[in-house]
Symmetry: C2
Subunit: 94 residues, 2 copies
């Protein structure tokens, strides 16, 4: 199954929702920064992820940005300061 | 001059450095989330931005992720919850 790489960044205002979103995202990809994940996902995975996140956030207050970065390996990532390893395998849906 | 769109996300541990990085980034693009900017930059702008950020961070503790998203308009952005307008013009180098 073809996977595309997605960057998912969340801005969740309430600590409890934040913990839940953070925990949920750990099953879909790699945490690159505190509230940013890189995920290699199939179209079905993306649907599951969005559905799960919709249930966890307050749509009036919280914001989740999902950027389709194309196929893994196409992107140009650069780090200043501390490096972070990029995802090498698909999602770990627990 | 050709501009490409970049997502810049920073994870800066010290409040004073955080403020300075945040302030500096306002001259290069649009804040999409608290510590995430979308910037339409020329190659020269990118060099200036990286140079300026290098001077502001502690490379052992802080991390800045720069993702080359390609030409503006190519990307697929999606928001869950609160939307955010995407940049329409180039950088505001003040």
């Amino acid at each position: 199954m073809l996977r595309r790489r997605y960057l998912v960044a969340y801005d969740v205002r309430h600590p409890q929702r934040l913990r839940r979103v953070s925990k949920k995202m750990e099953g879909f990809g790699d945490r690159t920064q505190y509230s940013i994940f890189l995920c290699d996902l199939t179209r079905a995975d993306v649907g599951d992820m969005k559905h799960a996140l919709h249930d966890l956030i307050d749509s009036a207050m919280d914001r989740i940005l999902i950027v389709d970065l194309g196929y893994p390996g196409d992107q140009k990532f650069e780090f200043l300061g501390r490096r972070h390893k990029l995802p090498t395998i698909g999602p770990r849906v627990l």
